[in-house]
Amino acid sequence: MSTKVVERKPLSAWERSYIPSILGGLGVTWKHFKRTAPFLGNKPITMEYPEQKWVVPEGYRGAPYLVKDQEGATKCVSCQLCEFVCPPKAIRITPPGPEAQQADRANAEKMPREFEINMLRCIFCGLCQEVCPEEAIFLQKDYSLTGTSRQEMVFNKEKLLKLGGTHAGIQKWKHKLEEAEAQESFPVDTH
């Protein structure tokens, strides 16, 4: 490999007098001052956070919440895949067992009796969303979670469902049902 010798020109007497750099410095600082100072430009680039908030981009990985389907029923079927995949073990699911209500929608055998996410442990990795076969848990746009105690930061099923809202975009079982009905009337070659 050949080396390239960078030519370093000696500074001229004018440059060594510091005057060009003084003028340059003055120009740059004045330009910024004029743009930012009130009564002049009044356009600081600072975002004053609690009053002004940034637009959360699409696909942002915020806090994971449970979602309801288009009829307002719990989507989660208590399969516990997210609990097993969760790297920091932030999710804790209590299955319904024999005595509790099994599910609040058709097409589902079960729903969790209790679903807890410890938001202090959660690392917002999104593995729970990825692994969920029912599309019942999504990382949403919440990034500012605060509480006054550790207990308060453990979100239960009721709270998670309320925060998550209805997710009508993906309607897995509705389409499954349509597909099943279509199958029945489809002309099948019986040879």
């Binding site: 750099s21 003084i22 410095g25 003055l26 740059v28 600082t29 910024h32 001052f33 743009r35 930012t36 100072a37 600081p44 680039i45 600072t46 004053e48």
Partner: protein, 362 residues
């Protein structure tokens, strides 16, 4: 006011002096507090930020329009800053040299205030016998240089007393820097006094009232004085004793609470003193090209003080502004600038001025 006139002249003198000292001290202290705010705000604006805009006493929000406006300007910030310094833990590391550790902040702050004594901040308030200067010394400028050199000891002692490497390095740098720039500073003023023919600062202003501002007659002396003033007050681009990016906090690394605040105070008081000095020596003090005679009434006297303060504020803003214009000088560049450029230039300036005074201005 009659009973004041009937008093013994010496009692009058003492009384007026005490009042002047109190007022100058109070004004300087509030100036220090608010120049910190101005520094924070101007720095913020130069860097496209907002600056302190939240601090306010609870009552401020009830004042319509003005309250939020002042809060946004950060008017209440200095009070919070001062309170913070008072209430913080005063931590003394176990390895310091205690006596010097306690002495250094005091030595840093006292000379800064003492230099203000000889600066004529106005003409009179109507009474011609009562000049608006705390001490109308005939050796004015010599006194100033004598006191200013003491200010070095505060920083050097702080560096030595802290017994740790960063303050020590800061102290070493400051010793070299302040001593070498004091020479250039002193020499630049010599040519001014060759022209004026008197060391008394009131006489310097009198000369400028009739003969025009000295900055036009001695521009080189002004430039040298200005740069040396930056070096003497440890301001960027010459803040090598502090240089927080390489020496943590320089000479005041080990200090906390009020002791640290005293160094802070000393630095800003020094800035105020050198601004006042530059205004007095080169920019006509309280005079303007069309206002030169000492005031005959209270109003005129206050106007003169106002002119002086306004000129000083311009220099203070310049001190703050320059901070963001340059990167810090390297140690050898600083020494090179001081010894190999400014001292020969100042000497040449003295020589030329002396020749002009001797042969032309007879």
């Amino acid at each position: 006011m009659d009973f004041l006139q009937n008093l013994d002249p010496s009692v009058q003198f003492v009384l007026f002096s005490i009042v002047k000292i109190a007022v100058v001290f109070g004004v300087t202290m509030s100036f220090v507090a608010y120049s910190v705010l101005v520094e924070r705000k101007v720095s913020a604006w130069i860097q496209d930020r907002v600056g302190p805009n939240r601090t306010a006493p609870p009552a401020a929000q009830f004042i319509p329009i003005l309250g939020p406006f002042l809060t946004r300007l950060g008017i209440f910030q200095p009070a919070a800053d001062g309170l913070k310094f008072l209430l913080k833990e005063d931590f003394t590391p176990s390895y310091v040299r205690l006596a010097y550790f306690w002495l250094a902040p005091a030595i840093a702050v006292i000379p800064a205030f003492m230099t203000l004594a000889v600066i004529p901040f106005g003409s009179t308030l109507g009474n011609p016998g009562n000049k608006m200067v705390i001490a109308d010394l005939d050796v004015g400028i010599l006194y100033t240089f004598g006191i200013v050199s003491l200010g070095v000891y505060g920083i050097v002692l702080a560096g030595y007393a802290a017994n740790s490497k960063y303050p020590f390095l800061g102290g070493i740098r400051s010793t070299a820097q302040m001593i070498s720039y004091e020479i250039a500073m002193g020499m630049s003023v010599v040519s001014v006094f060759l022209l004026v023919g008197d060391l008394n600062l009131s006489k310097v202003i009198e000369y400028q009232a009739h003969g025009g501002w000295l900055v036009f007659k001695q521009p080189l002396a002004f430039v040298i004085f200005l740069v040396a003033a930056f070096a003497e007050t440890n301001r960027l681009p010459f803040d090598l004793p502090e240089s927080e990016s390489e020496l943590v906090g320089g000479y005041h690394t080990e200090y906390s609470s009020m002791k640290f605040a005293l160094f802070f105070l000393g630095e800003y008081a020094n800035m105020i003193a050198s601004s006042a000095m530059m205004v007095t020596l080169f920019f006509g003090g309280w005079t303007l090209p069309f206002i030169g005679e000492p005031a005959s009434g209270l109003l005129g006297g206050l106007l003169h003080i106002g002119i002086f303060v306004a000129k000083m504020v311009v220099f203070m803003v310049m001190f703050i502004w320059v901070r963001w214009m340059f990167p810090r000088f390297r140690y050898d560049q600083l020494m090179d600038l001081g010894w190999r450029r400014f001292i020969p230039l100042a000497l040449a300036n003295i020589l030329v001025t002396a020749l002009v005074v001797a042969f032309v201005n007879r």
